[in-house]
């Protein structure tokens, strides 16, 4: 495939557009909330009317040459804010404007609007303020100390993916469903009947609103067509207008209609609120295939047209950076990526292999577009063909970090274990980073990262946090008072339970703030069974409701506990007194101790049971603390193991640790070993990582570093495919190949201690990068630079 001039131009436009803050949404939202109408309405109707006001008054943007229309802001990358969720202060805006990375330009006009209109109205009234006022003293202290983060503090609950139903249903049909649901309300015995009535009314308004929004685009397109000189473009514009008149009111019947249908839905969701992970078309190859097939057979769509439409669609995601954050979450997840993750492959609802022509076509699109967003992944089941994996490896080898590889069979088992029907499970996949979900039927919310190593630090200090100078945890004793390793583990378990209790209490209050003040009638239309139950997505209306707490630092905490066990209890290499002093001194003057810990102590990631059993023990403690606890919207708390970038923030709040890590350095990522400690190659990492029970999580993340030379020929593709399939046969959930570039190799030359695991290949042989002479290292760097495919 070659990208057309049109798509190339749109791609350039997207890449060159500067991220900016747009005050449009904040201003409209403020106007609406100030209105008399708003004051009188119940929460769902207020939100529905706000949604209507936004989409009625926002600027319509149509970019030159594009085929799929609609922007969240007034122009590409002009990003709205959500003051009802969290309010940016003038200082926040200044930081966003001036920070070096992941900046958002804020012009004088926006600053003015914020100062005069937005801040005065919303100050103290955002949901973030509400949350912070409602949290307990213990929650606030633990939060400030970095024991956990809070997802809903700056964004609305999200983590939901569009399912099969909405790719084949128009909003006019939903209006009928709503009508049925209303007429089925039983005001005699259902004590919730009135709340449902209000919610369903709100949903009905949301249906009309999205249709109105599409029609506004059609109007604008017709206007443009009338003035268009170029007859080809004129026809295109008219065709696009017709598409916008048809969808999303009616079910899409062509590829063009389906992509535009989805894109209106996407905009609706990310305008209504700012849910986590934006929104996601999920199993795109499955949804597109039937309409594609029909059009191909009818001869109504050429391959060029198909690629053009897909290219235009891809660019749309890249035009929409993640809404800007402030404070703690800026260091915790600092990226423009909004974690939309397109799923390819997997299985069909009947369990047969789902890889189809569109799966391969979309891999082509991913390869050719090479843009940050949307993210992509392949679902690999036992039934997936090798060819599909090989084709993905072809993209992975270019070091672009996409697509990542997921285990369909594990995902399905995870969901069935959680009580989902087999068909709902097969229709699901992973979204965000690695989160398992039933697409179109589940509200699976991430609620915050949990800092496991920090809990250990407190356990060694009788619950006291030296950094914030506060007693945070239980007074279970000081390090030297633990007579045995088992004693220490018992205390650790008590502390984990204690902090998880604090977190869950917070979650259950926070969920209610969204149910009561910030329902999402539009999003509720999209997720089954909200209409049928008359309940909002934020209030437990989805068929399945799950809240996750994400464990962070498994590799690090395993190495810390293993080091304690090995050096203090089992081999008595040094005592607690010496270790405590060494940690307090950040190893200055105690380099010998640090050396023993780093180089002569077993580590996670080497298929060494001595170390890996601590990973299993921590996993079980964490699982027991969280899994199965009810949430206030009628869902269930569960665990997954992923960090995004929180392992950096979490490391920054922890002093030196018994694994030899210096104070404030990052923790390990996901379930990957700590940086550079896996010395036995990828098979041993996989063996260690698969000792925890992935099937009882909602996702784990494993990152594996490879040099591009590992992808050099057909044989190596076969071996990598076997490597992935082996991990998946051990029930591993996800693996991502991080193909190192020359930059990384240069860094490895400077900081060899962080790259002890880095293996490079040269001409069929391989060696640890660190073990090579400098001249050879340079040669490999040159070659890697040369081979990097861009």
């Amino acid at each position: 495939m070659k990208i057309s001039a049109r798509v190339k131009q749109l791609r350039e436009l997207s890449l060159n557009a500067v991220e900016k803050i747009s005050a449009e949404r904040a201003l409209l939202m403020t106007q609406f909330y100030k209105s008399d109408e708003a004051r009188e309405l119940s929460a769902p109707l207020k939100r529905a009317k706000a949604f209507e006001y936004l989409l009625k008054n926002k600027k319509i943007c149509i970019n030159e040459g594009e085929l799929i229309v609609g922007e969240r802001g007034p122009a590409p990358k002009e990003t709205p804010t959500y003051p009802e969720i969290s309010l940016h202060s003038m200082i926040d805006l200044e930081i966003l404007n001036s920070r070096e990375k992941v900046f958002f330009r804020v012009d004088e006009e926006v600053k003015n609007i914020y100062e005069k209109e937005i801040i005065p109205f919303w100050k103290g009234k955002s949901n973030r303020d509400r949350i912070m006022n409602l949290m307990t003293h213990e929650w606030m202290n633990a939060y400030k100390a970095g024991l956990f983060t809070e997802f809903q503090e700056q964004r609305a609950p999200g983590h939901t993916v569009l399912g099969y139903k909405m790719f084949t249903t128009g909003f006019l049909k939903l209006k009928e469903e709503i009508k049925e649901s209303v007429s089925a309300l039983d005001f005699y015995i259902d004590t919730q009947a009135f709340e449902k009535f209000e919610e369903l009314k709100a949903m009905d308004i949301a249906c009309d609103t999205i249709i109105m929004y599409a029609n506004r685009h059609a109007d604008e397109l017709e206007k443009l067509a009338a003035n268009e000189k170029n007859s080809k473009r004129k026809n295109e514009l008219l065709k696009m207008a017709a598409v916008c008149r048809k969808v999303p009111a009616n079910a899409p019947e062509t590829v063009h209609e389906m992509l535009q249908h989805y894109w209106f839905i996407h905009q609706g969701v990310i305008t209504e609120l700012n849910p986590w992970d934006s929104f996601n078309p999920g199993r795109l190859d499955q949804h597109l295939y039937p309409v594609y097939k029909k059009e191909m057979e009818a001869g109504s769509l050429s391959t060029d047209e198909l690629y053009d439409l897909l290219g235009c669609f891809w660019v749309k995601f890249n035009n929409h950076p993640s809404p800007p954050k402030i404070g703690v979450t800026a260091s915790e997840s600092n990226t423009y990526t909004d974690f939309c993750l397109i799923n390819l492959g997997g299985v069909k609802p009947d369990g047969t292999d789902a890889v189809n022509e569109i799966s391969y076509i979309l891999l082509d699109v991913i390869k050719e577009m090479r843009i940050l967003q949307p993210g992509s992944m392949i679902q690999i089941s036992k039934k997936s063909p090798d060819r599909f994996i090989h084709k993905a490896l072809d993209i992975i080898r270019t070091g672009f970090g996409q697509p990542s590889c997921f285990n369909t069979d594990a995902i399905i088992q995870e969901m069935v274990r959680q009580g989902k029907s087999i068909v709902d499970a097969r229709n699901g996949g992973a979204s965000g980073c690695v989160e398992t979900g039933a697409f179109g039927t589940e509200a699976y919310w991430l609620t915050g990262y949990f800092n496991l190593p920090k809990v250990l630090e407190l356990t060694l200090n009788n619950g006291f946090d030296k950094r914030t100078n506060k007693l945070l945890g239980l007074e279970t004793g000081y390090a030297h008072e633990y007579k045995s390793f088992e004693d220490l583990m018992k205390a650790f378990k008590l502390q984990v339970n204690y902090f998880i209790d604090i977190k869950i209490r917070g979650n259950n209050v926070i969920e209610k703030t969204f149910a009561n003040w910030l329902p999402v009638p539009f999003l509720s239309l999209l997720v089954e069974d909200c209409i049928a139950s008359g309940k909002d997505y934020n209030g437990g209306g989805a068929r399945y409701n799950t809240s996750y707490i994400q464990g962070v630092g498994l590799g690090s905490i395993t190495d810390m506990l293993t080091s304690i066990r090995y050096n203090i209890y089992d081999n008595k290499k040094f005592g607690w007194e010496e270790l405590t002093k060494a940690l307090d001194a950040d190893f200055n003057g105690y380099e010998q101790v640090q050396y023993e810990m780093i180089y002569n102590t077993p580590k996670f990631g080497n298929d060494d049971d001595y170390a890996d059993q601590q990973a299993v023990a921590v996993f079980e403690i964490y699982y027991d603390a969280v899994n199965g606890r009810p949430t206030s919207r009628g869902g269930i708390h569960r665990i997954n193991m992923l960090p995004t970038t929180s392992h950096v923030y979490f490391g920054s709040v922890i002093g030196a640790t018994p694994d030899g890590r210096k104070a404030h350095k990052p923790l390990s990522e996901g379930i990957s070993p700590s940086q550079g400690v896996d010395k036995q190659g990828p098979t041993s990492v996989i063996k260690s990582a698969s000792k925890i029970d992935h099937l009882r999580t909602g996702g784990t993340l494993l990152n594996q570093k490879f040099s591009p030379q590992f992808f050099e020929d057909e044989d190596s593709y076969d071996c990598l495919t076997a490597l992935i399939r082996s991990y998946f046969s051990l029930d591993g959930h996800h693996i991502q190949f991080n193909v190192v570039n020359a930059e990384t190799l240069k860094d490895a030359q400077k900081h060899p201690e962080l790259y002890r695991d880095l293996i490079v290949r040269v001409a069929g042989y391989s060696d640890y990068f660190n073990d090579l002479g400098e001249d050879l290292q340079n040669e490999i760097i040159n070659r890697t630079e040369h081979e990097e495919v861009l």
Binding site: F587, A722, S729, Y765, L776
Partner: protein, 266 residues
């Protein structure tokens, strides 16, 4: 009985089919000028000093190169890798050094591996007695057989030993019914002159049987050079440069006339 092994490599993907575990056995009767595993030549355990940095301070530790493994140890390691081996249709490779130098251990290890269902490969210089080869044939699925030079005098010059026995063994293995992959190191200025290459192609062609499955052309590289320093062995290849990519491609074409698959690298 135990075998002296200086390195165990997992996710070994260039020493036979699939994902393998390669055991590098210590001791080699040859002394090739370009050897990239100089630590594999001496048949005794050796000590090297390994220094590791912690911040600004350096710590040195003496590390033993060469450890004794029992057959059970070998099987335990394979068991750890079993899932990958099964999935990829891989197996186990005994390399070196020269594995035939520890023939008795090698035989027992191969036998145990076979009994446990693993595909077995032996990576050999061909320099051992004919009887020894004959006895391991039943427990070996694949021979990775090095041919370094056809001219005896030149062979002695480059490796320290004659190639007469090596070439005889090669012919015998070709009629063993087991798979053979020939490995030809391409050492610029040593064995890659047109005349020798022509002879070599001729030789491979004229001796070819069903057993010959592949020719691996292994381009010379200097990865081992830092090891020479560590082991205090003089490095004689400083002035030799690795063959260019294009050159290797040419040789690949050239050898494909033998009528089997030719691959650059292992």
């Amino acid at each position: 009985m135990k075998g002296l092994i200086f390195s165990v490599k997992r996710y070994s993907i260039h020493d036979g089919p699939g994902i393998r575990v390669t055991f590098f056995m210590k001791g080699c009767p040859l002394n090739c000028m370009w050897c990239h595993n100089p630590e594999g030549i001496s048949p005794f355990p050796e000590n090297v000093i390994i220094s590791d940095k912690v911040g600004e301070r350096e710590f040195s530790n003496s590390k033993e190169v060469g450890k004794y493994y029992s057959v059970e140890n070998i099987l335990e390691i394979l068991e750890k890798e079993r899932v990958f081996i099964n999935q990829s249709k891989g197996g186990v490779t005994f390399s070196g050094g020269e594995p035939m130098l520890q023939f008795e251990f090698l035989f027992e290890a191969l036998k145990a591996c076979k009994e446990n269902g693993y595909h077995t490969a032996v990576d050999t210089s061909g320099y051992s007695s004919f009887e020894n080869y004959k006895s391991i044939i039943p427990v070996t699925d694949l021979f990775l057989f090095d041919i370094k030079h056809l001219d005896e005098a030149r062979h002695i010059e480059l490796t320290g030993v004659s190639n007469i026995g090596i070439l005889d063994n090669y012919r015998i293995l070709l009629n063993s019914g087991k798979d053979i992959m020939v490995r030809v190191p391409v050492i610029p200025g040593f064995n890659d002159d047109p005349d020798h290459l022509k002879k070599l192609k001729q030789f491979l062609l004229s001796t070819k049987t069903e057993s010959l499955k592949k020719i691996n052309l292994l381009p010379f590289h200097k990865i081992g050079s830092s090891k020479y320093k560590r082991f205090n062995i003089p490095y004689k290849m400083d002035n030799v440069e690795p063959p260019a990519k294009g050159r290797m491609q040419e040789l690949k074409e050239f050898f494909s006339e033998v009528g089997v698959k030719v691959k650059i690298g292992g």
